[in-house]
Amino acid sequence: MTETRQAPAAEAVPQGREPRPRGLGVTGWLRWGWRQLTSMRTALILLFLVALGSVPGSILPQRGQAPERVVEYLDEHRTLGPWLDRLSLFDVFAAPWFAAIYILLFVSLAGCVIPRTRQHWRAMRSQPPAAPRVLSRLPQSARYETDRDAAEVLAEARRLLRGRRFRVADGDGSVAAEKGYLGEIGNLAFHLALLVLLFAVAAGALFGYRGNIVLTEGSGFANSLAYYDQFTPGRQFSPDRLAPFSLRLEDFRADYVKDGERRGQPLDYSATVHYRERPDAPEKTYDLRVNHPLAVGGAKIYLLNHGYAPRFTVRDGQGNVAYRGAMPFLPIETRTYTSEGVIKAPDARPEQLAFQAVFWPTAVADTRNKQVLSAFPAPLNPTVSLMTFKGDLGLDSGTPQSVYRIEGIGKTLQPVRGGARLLRQGETFTLPNGAGSITFDGTQEWISLSVNHDPGRLPALAAAVAAILGVIVSFMVRRRRLWVRATPGKGGRTVVEVGGLTLGNPTAEFEDVVAALRRDEPRAPTGSDDDTEE
């Protein structure tokens, strides 16, 4: 697939449609198939298939990026959804058919690049090819006469071309020179680097891991599976690869634009965290920000998201504390950080209690629509609205429940009459009929962290840098061949012919060489000109 510049001798044929092998047996067919696969036409088609195959990944929700949206999509498209799923269209970049395309492409690439590397290695060590018979038919050529004898002219040409860092070889009455091997080296390096990149990405995915954790201010975690809310290990991952660090969130701050048109736009997020590399290591402090991950124990920790975790105390009908803590709420509107969440108090007696709540960091009354709004994302006037439920939370049934949702409303859980209330920070709502009370104690913030270990990261970076250097070099350096032939002419003069062949477009170097060769000559009317004039 790297025939960009030069078709290797062995592959001069497969450009067109090759005749199918007849009666060649298995080997013949294999060879034919291999040549088809490594032909440029196939490589081009595979390139387009890769491009085309990626497109559904941007149109349909993907499990790797947004699993919840995939579920939603499947819910909405009951007939189409399962079919798309069968074609792995919600997992395009892990799909077998996508892997088939890129593996074929990379085999095709390897099948082309590796023989070419060998070939180029040989070309670099062998003599530049001898001069063609008729130099004037080359894309660049010049012809002039001189009084100096042939040997002298050739010696001068050799010296000049060597000085210009050409590799020079002597022929019969001629000199052959070649330079610009770096172009092909760059080209090969680019393609080989892409192969390395693929392996690095694959290795990273196999041996690495990625996990998400939600922390509220004051809480912490140790790097073990039990703490992760979501954990995606690579296939070759084993839990003992988890570096034994621990981390605690002290404080999270968000700054917002305070006034003007962009009021409420976030300016900066910053989390003060304390961490230990090992349980016995000294505690260090880090200011975790977006774009400033914390590197610890081979993993990197990123600040992904934040939100509010209002703190409540729930007392049951008997006056006992049934729940006390900060509960992360999910933002439903990021401009104002209006958030919602639930509080579950399974310890409440005689009946279990649950609250569905909306939280406004800066509550203001919208008098026209008789509703509460949040005017600003920072907690200037934190207020919650509560809906109370009592009954059975269903936590003992064994089915796992989301901490963000109440299950069984209307079935096992009944709304409490008169159990809706707007509560400002510090206020207590006493539930009707002596069912208990709930106090809105304060407002904390939570952050979500992504912990990521990818051993392929640095090799991938190195390969990417090599690829870009390779492509630049291959575009900038062109292989040039130049021949000088000197033959005795009429009247004791010597006829000098110069021919040049450059891959791609000719360069001005040829004219420079001719001019340098003729430096000592008086301008002869026979003329040395670019052949386009002829």
Partner: protein, 334 residues
Amino acid sequence: MADSDLANLSDQLALGAVLLYVVAMVGYALDLGFGRRRAGSAETERAEREAPAKVLVGTAGAETTETTETAKAAGAPAEGSEDDEPATERDWGRFAVLINVLGWGAHLGMLVTRGWAAERWPWGNMYEFLSAIAFAAVTAFLVVMARYKARFLGAFVMLAAVVALGVATIWLYTPVGPLVPALKSYWIAIHVSAAIVATGAFTVAGVSTVLYMLRSRRPAGETGGGTLALLPGADTLDRLAYKVTMFAFPIWTFAIIAGAIWADEAWGRYWGWDPKEIWSFVTWVIYAGYLHARATAGWKGRRAAVISLLAFAALLFNFFGVNYMFSGLHSYAG
């Protein structure tokens, strides 16, 4: 000067740039239409027609495939002759270039004052981004014009720049403001600048390719009437598109890699198949296909040009489509 004054100045400079570009566009069009038909172009075409006849006996057998390529290129030096055209009474070309450079200066001023007013790199939202791309395209055109005598592209590049600035000002305008935290990184200067430069250059290559497609419908050398006959030969257009693409492709590659490094800093992974990542990858793959196709027998010429236009379409879609149709990590721009 207060930030708001600077911001106003930026908006006025944008308007000035648009007006100057419109005038330059008219100037370039007049130059194409009424400028003296250059002897040079005819010369170029003649050379191009004859060149393939010079069949080279390959020295190593490997050369045969690219002989035609090289031989065609041999016509290149003749291009220079169009510069020697004697000054006509009304030299619309020179006038257009002058106005164009003035417009470019206003455009530069617009970006600088905008960045100054916001106290950051002026590519934090779609308005700024599109303005910068238009600027990169005009810059790329000016460079190409100086290097390859490609004044004939002027009217078309001006049209593209005017449309881009118009769309930016009318539909995408965003008042000066601070960046969202995710964009606060020195990588914005590296990643976004590279993407802007590459997109600007790809735009010039795209314009040249469109003209090539139109021009190559007519067999080379046939001198028919119509506007198309005013353009240089199909091979010149094709070669120019190729050269500019060869410039832009490594920069685009770099933009993607820089984006990956930034993503690794900001989001915890260097590649996550976000819609923007997918489409920049698709764009990259199709341009890679074009670069290969152009050197492959049976694909070069119009087929390769179609691939190049597909790649450009993917590039445009990556800018507009992805930002407005899909939700992803890059969607703060909307």
